[in-house]
Amino acid sequence: MRKKGWFAGMAALALVAGTLAGCSGKGNNGGEAGGSGGAKSPSASASANASGKAGEPVKLKMWGGVPPEAGPQAVVDAWNKDHPDVQVEYVRYVNDDEGNLKLDTAMMTGQDVDLFVNYSMSQTAKRKESGFTLDLSAFTDYDVDAKMGPDAAGWKIDGKYYGIPTTKSSFFVALNKDKLDAANLPVPKDWTWDELREYAKKLKAGDGYGFIQHTEPFVDPIDSVLSQDGYTKADGTSNLDDPLVRKWLETLNGMMKEDKTTPPLGEQLTSKMPVEQIFLSGEAPMLNIGAWLLRSSNNFTDYPRDFKIAFAPVPRLAGSADKYVTRGGIGDYISINAKSKHTDAAWSFLKWYADGGMAPLAAGGRLPASKDADQEAALKSLLGDKADTYDRDSLMYVMFDNKTPTYVRSVPQEVMDLRSQEYEKYFLGSQTMDQTISAMVSRHNEFLKTAK
C-alpha cells in the first residue's frame, strides 16, 4: 500500500509535467520546420506549380471558420464545377482558441493548408511573423486597394498585404422598429451612448431590458476611442486611463445598476445569454451586434418574429462626431499559405472568391467587399425572402452609405483579456472605478514591458 500510494503520486506528477511538456514539445519541432520551410517556400512552390502534371487536378484546401452549410460549401461547389483542374476542399475550423491552435499546428506540421481565413489582425500578425502568409505584392494582377476601397488598408502589415480582406463587416445596433414607433422614437443615424441610454430607458418595459449586447462587440466603444488616441501615450505607457474609457465604464454600469436597462454582466456571462434569441423574440428592443445577426433573423423556423428590424450605427462616446470611427470596414482576411505547393492555383481561386465567388456567404451576413461583386445580388441573397421584414433605408445606411471611417480590431489577445478581466470586476461591483482603471493600466504596462 505504502509503495503503491507513492508510485501513484509520482506517476501522476509525471503525467502533469508530461502532458504540458508534450504539447509544447510538439510545437517546437514544428517551429523549426516552419522557420526553414517558410524561407525556402517561394522557389519550392514555383517549381511545384510548373511541374504540375497535366491531367491530374490540383487539390486545394481552404480553412475557414464559417460552417460549410452557411455558404462555403456552395462557394466551393460552384468553383469545382467550372474548374475541373483545380478542386478546392473546404475545411472548417472553429474560430476560438482551440480552433486557431488547430489551424496553426496544421500549418506548422506541413499538413495541407493552401488558403486560410483570418478573423483578427492579431492572429494574422502572428502567422505573418512565422512566415505562413504569402506576401501578395508578388502578384501584380489584382489591386486590393482599388477593389476593396480605403478600408482595406487596416489589414496591411508593414505596408503590404498578406491576404485579401473579402467581406464587408458591418457592426450596428439592431432595433425593434415596432417598439420604436410605438414610443415615438426615430431611428438614429448618428448618436451617443448617452442618447442610447435614454432610448433604453424609454423602451424598457416591466422587468425586461431596453438594450442588450452580444459579447463580441461589447468592448468596441473603447477600441473606437483608443484606435484614434492610441493605446499608449507618447511616453510609451498605457493609455487605458483615457477619460472616455472611464465614461464607457460609467455609462454601462449605470445602465446595469441604476436604470436596469441592460443585463448585469455577471448574469449575462454565466448564463451564456442567447442575445439573438432574446432580441428576435421581441423581449429586448435593441441589440448591439454585427451583420451575423442576419443568419438568425432570416431563420423564421427557429426564431419566429413578428416585427420589423431597423438598424442604427454603433453610438459614440465622445460628444462630437468629427473624430469618431466605427468598427467594421472589411473582414475575413484570406491568406495563402506560403508553404503551399499550389500558390498560383490558390491565387486564382482567391481572386475569383473575392470578386463575387463568395456570394452564397451573403445569406449569413457576409457581403462581398469588392466593388466588382454584384452588390444587388448579394443583398438579395442576404435578405432572402424576408426583405420586407427589415427597414431597408436604415439597413442600406449602416451597411453601405454610412461614411464614418472604420477601424479593424488589432489589440493583442493578452490586452483584450486583461481589460475584460478588470472591467468584469468593476461591473460585478468587486472593485471601484479607480481601482479598475489603475489595474488595467498597470497590467497593460507590465504587458508592454514583457512584450518588448
Binding site: A8, G18, N28, G31, D97, L269, T270, K272, S420
Partner: protein
C-alpha cells in the same frame, strides 16, 4: 555456463522493458527536459525568433499578481478534495448497511464520475443561474431573500466551482471506500459490540482507522487530480468572472494556448510541479501520524 545464462536472462529483461522505456523516454522524459529548458527562453508558439532570457520568466512569475491570485484560487479549489472524501466516507458507510435500493443509489452516486464534463458544465450553469436557476429558486422559497450569485460574482464563483467538484469526486471516493469497508473484518466489529461500543464509537475508533490507508490514497490522488484539472473550469467560466476562477492549471493553459507564450507557460507549469511535489511530500511525511497499515 551459469554466468552466461544469467547474462542472457538479464538481456531478455531489458528487451521486455524496452518498449515501455522508449515510451517513457519519448513521451515523458524528453518533453519534461524540453519544457524545463523552455523556462529559460522567450519562445512563442509559431514564432521562430526565440532566445534564452535566463531567469526573466521566473522573475516575471514572482512579480505577477495573477500568479498569486491563481495560487489562491487553486488552494480554494483544493478544499473540495477533503470535503468530498469526508462526504464519500459518510455515503459509503450508509450505503454499506442493509438499505433499500442501495444498488441503485450506488449507481446514482457514481454517475457524475462517468458523465461528460462539458455536458455537466452546462447543467450546472443552469442550476446556478442567479435569477432563474432552481437552486436560487429553492433558496428564495425557504425565505432567503438574497441568495448568493454563485458563478456570477467574483466572490462566490470559486466556491460554486468547489460544489461542482465535490459532486464530481464524491462517487469515486464512495466506491473506493465501499471496497475498503468490505475489508473491515466483522470479528473486530462484533468484538467491539460485545464490549459495548456504540455505533459512533465503532465508526470513529475502528472503521475510520482501518480505512485510513484508503483515505490517504484518496487524498494524494484527489489532490493531484484536482490541482491539474482545468477542463471543467474552462467549460464553465473560462477563469472568470474577472479572474476569480483562474486556477494555476488554467493559467498555464491560457498562457500556452491562448497567448502562445510557451516560455512563461513552462515556467508556471514547473511552479505547479513544485507545488504538487511539496504537497505530496508533506502528506507523505504526515501520514505516519494518522495512517494505520
Amino acid at each position: 555456463m551459469n554466468n552466461h545464462w544469467m547474462r542472457r536472462q538479464r538481456l531478455l529483461g531489458y528487451v521486455f522493458v524496452g518498449p515501455s522505456m522508449i515510451g517513457v523516454l519519448l513521451f515523458f522524459l524528453i518533453p519534461a527536459i524540453y519544457s524545463f529548458a523552455l523556462m529559460f527562453t522567450n519562445y512563442k508558439f509559431m514564432n521562430p525568433k526565440a532566445g534564452f532570457v535566463g531567469f526573466d520568466n521566473i522573475a516575471r512569475l514572482l512579480r505577477d499578481p495573477l500568479f498569486y491570485l491563481s495560487l489562491k484560487n487553486t488552494v480554494i479549489f483544493l478544499l473540495a478534495v477533503p470535503v468530498s472524501i469526508a462526504l464519500g466516507f459518510v455515503v459509503a458507510v450508509i450505503l454499506n448497511r442493509r438499505l433499500y435500493l442501495k444498488r441503485l443509489l450506488r449507481g446514482l452516486y457514481f454517475m457524475p464520475y462517468i458523465t461528460s464534463g462539458v455536458a455537466v458544465a452546462f447543467v450546472w450553469m443552469l442550476l446556478f443561474h442567479p435569477k432563474q436557476g432552481p437552486i436560487n429558486g429553492f433558496l428564495r422559497s425557504v425565505g432567503i431573500a438574497h441568495p448568493p450569485g454563485w458563478l456570477s460574482t467574483t466572490t462566490s464563483s470559486m466556491y460554486a466551482i468547489d460544489i461542482i467538484w465535490v459532486w464530481f469526486l464524491l462517487g469515486y471516493n464512495m466506491i473506493i471506500y465501499l471496497a475498503a469497508l468490505q475489508e473491515v473484518s466483522p470479528e473486530l466489529l462484533e468484538a467491539a459490540k460485545i464490549d459495548g461500543a456504540k455505533g459512533w464509537q465503532t465508526l470513529r475508533k475502528i472503521i475510520w482507522p482501518l480505512v485510513s490507508p484508503t483515505t490517504f490514497l484518496l487524498l494524494v490522488t484527489g489532490l493531484i487530480m484536482t490541482i491539474k484539472t482545468f477542463g471543467i473550469i474552462q467549460a464553465i467560466t473560462q477563469g472568470g468572472p474577472g479572474n476569480s476562477t483562474t486556477i494555476l492549471s488554467l493559467y498555464v493553459y491560457q498562457n500556452a494556448f491562448r497567448y502562445y507564450d510557451m516560455g512563461y507557460a513552462a515556467t508556471i507549469s514547473w511552479a505547479l510541479f513544485a507545488i504538487i511535489l511539496v504537497i505530496t511530500l508533506l502528506q507523505w511525511l504526515g501520514q505516519k501520524k494518522w495512517v494505520h497499515y
